[in-house]
């Protein structure tokens, strides 16, 4: 494989633990993966799988108190895990930026959106007021906001959900970061708007040569837009591989359950919605064995006593963590 200097992001054995009233909560455990330049990777999982905590930890935005981070996050060679705030601040905006889930809460409600974009440009790039305003209007146009010069003076509350999210994207892109972390960027938006925003992200990624980490619970979102997918459960990676492989050749039963539980248009009407029985585990009570075992239809004794490690699958780059994986010959595709 290529050496680390070509990779944009190298995450190695990253763990994030919260100190709570009920004991230590390991929200993320032993996560490792790489990201190259100009690549989009999807991180998928249910609520509570640790995917949001992972994205925040990678970025260095985890809360400062009662949190322990171990492992390494190398962003373009810069170590982000446990770095000082000052160090991280240098990289935020210019190297890596984040698009948050709810644009109503991630934008300052009492400041005009133009000013919120300006701020990044003036503080991080040192632009003058006029230059910043001009560039802000350019950015608004880039993200597809009609009459940008006029909208420059709007308050977030005066815009629709989709527009607000575009503004958030504009802010994230303002200083041309090489890596964009998108944490559930379309959850909470209308379905039609979702597609627009995702297409916008694709387009911008191409134009600006960025890499994107797309965090979501919705498999439909990652199906066509990512080159690789990471599936998380209970804070760990349970399957990772090329998107095609994960969809067609998945080995871990949880992945299958996830896939089956998304309603498909191609299903006949009145098809029963498939759900995964049970609920995500309580991370305060770590048990031996695989975290998914209580809910898994294929669980064996070993699954309940030994925790499976990631093992390579048939295709390159494909790994999964399961003692009793689904057969490998399902849906063979031309690689």
């Amino acid at each position: 494989m290529s050496d680390n200097s070509e990779k944009l992001l190298v995450v190695d054995n990253l763990s994030t633990t919260f100190a709570t009233a009920g004991g230590p909560l390991p929200a993320v455990s032993n996560v490792s993966f790489d990201l190259l330049g100009n690549e989009t990777i999807g991180i998928v999982g249910e609520s509570g799988s640790g995917k949001t905590v992972l994205s925040r930890t990678i970025m260095g935005l985890q809360p400062r108190t009662n949190v322990t981070v171990t492992g390494s996050v190398l962003l373009n060679g810069n170590q982000m895990a446990n770095a000082t705030e000052r160090f991280k601040r240098e990289l935020w905006g210019t190297e890596v930026a984040m698009v948050f889930q709810d644009p109503m809460t991630s934008l300052n409600p009492v400041v005009r959106i133009g000013k919120q974009i300006d701020e990044t440009l003036r503080v991080r790039l040192g632009m003058s007021r006029q230059d910043a305003k001009a560039r802000a209007i350019e950015l608004l146009e880039l993200v597809g906001i009609p009459s940008p010069a006029h909208r420059y003076n709007a308050y977030p509350g005066q815009l629709s959900g989709g527009m607000r999210q575009r503004v958030v994207i504009a802010i994230a892109l303002a200083c041309s970061p090489k890596l964009l972390m998108a944490d559930e960027p379309t959850t909470g938006l209308d379905v039609t708007i979702q597609a627009q925003i995702l297409n916008l992200l694709d387009e911008l990624k191409e134009r600006l040569h960025m890499s994107v980490v797309l965090v979501t619970h919705d498999l439909g979102v990652v199906a066509t837009r990512t080159s690789r997918i990471i599936v998380m459960y209970a804070g760990r990676i349970v399957e990772v591989g090329a998107t095609r492989d994960v969809f067609a050749n998945h080995r871990m039963p949880y992945t299958r359950a996830l896939l089956e539980s998304s309603p498909k248009v191609s299903n006949a009407s009145h098809t029963r919605l498939v759900t995964i029985p049970g609920r995500p585990p309580n991370l305060l009570k770590i048990t031996d064995g695989c975290s998914f075992a209580p809910r898994c239809a294929y669980a064996t004794e070993k699954c309940r006593t030994d925790r499976p490690e990631l093992q390579p699958g048939a295709q390159p780059g494909h790994s999964f963590a399961c003692w009793n994986p689904l057969p490998a010959t399902r849906g063979v595709t031309a690689s």
Binding site: R89, F100, D102, V110, E119, V123, I171
Partner: protein, 316 residues
């Protein structure tokens, strides 16, 4: 926005009207023959009857009110029977002193409360935070009159400055240094009470605001902590502070009399107490009217300022 302002002004006029009625009836609710009361004890029946007619007290009550309100709108609040000076003059002499006292104490209070609250909110449960939170909570339980008495005790006992009696107030116009000296103790006393409230309100609001998502987003833009505190966190948090300030300042106008009375600062509060003690009802009525209207105006002003800071309120 304009509609909001107009609506508020109309409410203002309504409230002021009601206050004027209340102030007017304040005298008329007193027990006894009103003329005898005003004229004072020992007045002869003929004088009382003359006064009765002079004051138009034989007219129906609502007519009296309109006569009175007409006078008021022309700036005539009557002439005190006790001191002989027009009420308006007494008020005009006393009001600026109140305003100066309020101004000085609030400047002190804000100048200390805001930076300290910002610091504490940045590092909650740090040493600074713990000291000031505990301290301010304790001070909440110490009423202003105790603060004064203890301060005076401290100054006279510890610093050896003899406690001679009421300090002599020096007006600003004649000697501004002397003025500030004489206003120092009352201003500090009032500032302490205000500081405690402002610090606590701002701190708790800031801590809540700092947990909002847009602060995390601002962090992710690579902006410095200081800028985040002042540019992003302060403004939404200041709404509660402004609301508290409005109520507090209104309270100072209406209730600053203890401090004034104890230290012989001839503001409205002092004048009011003296008037009550000397049964100077016209002066009492006049001051009540002016102070009430003043409090309402202050609240109105602060509502307006809050609206500028957080435009969402007028849109709701």
């Amino acid at each position: 926005m304009l509609r909001y302002v107009i609506r508020r002004i109309l409410m203002l006029i309504g409230i002021v009207f009601v206050i004027s009625v209340g102030s007017f009836f304040l005298i008329h609710l007193l027990p006894g023959n009103i003329a005898a009361v005003i004229e004072g004890p020992g007045a002869s029946p003929e004088n009382q009857a003359k006064l009765f007619k002079l004051l138009g007290l034989n007219r129906p009550i609502y007519e009296q009110y309109f006569v009175w309100i007409n006078h008021v709108l022309h700036g005539n609040l009557g002439t005190s029977f006790i001191t002989g000076t027009p009420v308006v003059q007494s008020i005009r002499a006393a009001l600026p002193i109140d305003l100066e006292l309020i101004l000085l104490s609030q400047i002190l209070a804000f100048a200390t409360a805001i930076p300290l609250a910002m610091r504490s909110a940045r590092k909650p449960d740090g040493i600074l935070d713990r000291i000031f939170s505990a301290g301010s909570f304790t001070m909440l339980s110490v009423p202003p009159f105790i603060v004064i008495v203890l301060l005076v005790l401290f100054i006279s006992v510890e610093l050896g400055v003899p406690h001679t009696g009421p300090s002599s107030y020096v007006s600003f116009a004649s000697n501004w240094i002397g003025n500030l000296q004489s206003m120092a103790l009352p201003a500090v006393t009032l500032a302490v009470g205000s500081f405690v409230v402002y610090y606590r309100v701002l701190r708790s609001d800031l801590i809540a605001t700092l947990q909002e998502e847009f602060i995390t987003m601002a962090r992710s833009k690579g902006i410095s902590q200081r800028r985040i505190m002042w540019r992003h966190a302060f403004r939404p948090s200041s709404v509660a502070l402004l609301g508290t300030a409005g109520v507090n300042i209104g309270g100072l106008l209406a209730g600053g009399f203890v401090v004034q009375f104890l230290l012989a600062i001839p503001g409205l509060g002092y004048t009011l107490i003296s008037a009550i003690n000397t049964d100077d009802y016209l002066l009492v009525q006049g001051i009540v009217l002016v102070v009430s209207v003043g409090v309402v105006l202050i609240n109105f002003l602060f509502d307006f300022i809050i609206n500028i800071v957080d435009p969402r309120i007028s849109r709701e």
